[in-house]
Symmetry: D3
């Protein structure tokens, strides 16, 4: 009878599921992205939680490690989204990838998107590796 | 003492290793690509066997299934290499991916490269699925 | 009490809103896209209705004509999604653009993405104009 | 009789028309681009005034607001020209777009070019909004 | 006193210079592009003659052969404008490139844009080579 | 009998040939790239020397100046690899291009990849020109 309220409750479900998945995959780096959107496009922060994480990452049929391998590969190949690539290299670690696996995925992109794309991917990975070492020590 | 002969033998090693890997990953579709280059750029056929397959796919540190997930993701995202995407969807099956996994990888690209890229990836997958069903029956 | 059922009802709301918007914007061409996904990735058909049309096109703050101008511009510039560009040239007409406006948007892309992208956009537009003339006569 | 002089006079016409349009659309940000080219490629500064602004922006058939919506959309989607995107977000304001309209155009690109492209577009917009607020206060 | 008439005369100069250059570089393939625009966007046909060919190709400082090498490289790397790549492979021949030089330029793109881009460039070259052999025999 | 040792010797040949070519083309800028890979992906440093420089740049059939024109064109057009573009603008000078030729190649990309790509290419060239003037003085 009150579709508006119903919709809110339901939005809440996708949102909550997405938020949990975002924290699991992207960790703090993902939360910072959401935070940075609050004053410019708060609705986009909601959509980012709901669609990619609530709708896509939450799907069965492909494990999270394979999903992050796919994303690191694609962002390396596209070569025009370095901040997001770094978030997802963190993500790859968060869901169980090793350093070697991340490096191999990026190196493989030399074949499909050229050496500059792979080089810039490796330099992004280097920064992420250093960030994580600093945090661990 | 005969570097030329030595080089040939050695080229032969990378080439042979690459050729085995190409057949393992890309199967007949890969062999057709090599064949199609023979009259326009035979050296490129050699380089395609030696570098991507002899040097990259043969590396340890990342299993072939993950490599093909990375490639299907990247080619879907780039969106400008449909024939190669189809070869690597075949490749994904050849190294153990399921139909569902291939579909999930491509769907995930909607988040990172947009819905048109994912749609065109799914249409390419549909053609590959139909080709494989025809061959099986 | 039954979140599953609630979720379905709620999904139905976004879905129904999205479906109406898809029909308004993309018309029959959009419905054919949805239809073509049914056997390969039916969930993707749902997501395509829910996120782009239910979540994005349904937002206030930008009229549909401006949204279609943005989409025709972007797909012309990217240059790797001709089928979707054609659907959205139809869409531009459906929400009130004139033939001249569509041509001007595409021509402007010569400045931002180069003459080949603009040329291929114009050839796609030509096909759409011919399809619409055939249907009208 | 003096084609050279005639050509100069005529170049002057396209140039002057383009220069007026550049100032109207891009404002000071556009003038800075022209200035920055003077020592590396002064002829390119002329061509930039003559073709995009003298030939394209000056055309009838599409209002300036729609032209800037198209450009902000395309540059967000391409994702590899952030300085120019910022110039044209300024441009969108200069020809009458609201903050909300700019944000909606960029958000819509999540559907057609992926979330990373839209995110980076929103971050560019955020910088432009801050620059304009500083100048106004 | 009559800027309009003056402008027309002057446009005629750029147009004529561009038309001669278009015929020299792109030959019949270029003329067909112009022809194909007549009913959809005749003004764009004029701009295509005036800016790329009248303003850019006519510039001193880089020989036509180097210009065509640059264009074949760029269109191979972008990978989303096959018809234009084919026109410019014809163009490369028209201004003095050999078959081997064209093949080497395209092969080099494997390093900078990946093997799929180079492969699709070679397949486009193969079609052009066959077209030219047919015309010669 | 010892394929491993044989392979090393042979790898050494491609590697040495590639290393000489890398120094000839890219000079110190290229050596710095190799150096920067040592701790993140040393194997990729080897592959970068062996395939692009040992296999491709060492081929007959296209002079080094034309190869660098092709690479500067492609990286300007792709627009997502500025560090590599700068290395190859240095490379273009190293193999005999003039400042004017480099500027013309980049300006030509305005036609094929749009004005933003050409502008960003010119700004990269400006930085390289300044670096070289500083080193010369």
């Amino acid at each position: 009878m009150e579709p508006k309220a119903n919709w809110k409750m339901n939005k809440s479900d996708r949102y909550k599921k997405g938020w949990e998945k975002l924290k699991e995959v992207d960790g703090e780096a993902g939360e910072r992205v959401i935070e940075s959107l609050k004053d410019i496009a708060p609705d986009f922060a909601d959509l980012l939680i709901e669609f990619p994480f609530g709708d896509i990452y939450s799907r069965p049929g492909l494990d999270l490690k394979s999903r992050e391998i796919a994303v690191v590969a694609a962002l390396t190949a596209l070569g025009n989204a370095t901040p997001q690539l770094k978030v997802h290299i963190h993500g790859a670690f968060n869901v169980g990838c090793t350093k070697q696996e991340v490096v191999e995925v990026i190196m493989q992109m030399a074949v499909y998107a050229g050496f500059p794309a792979a080089l810039n991917g490796l330099f992004a990975a280097k920064e992420v590796f250093e960030e994580r070492e600093e945090n661990e020590s």
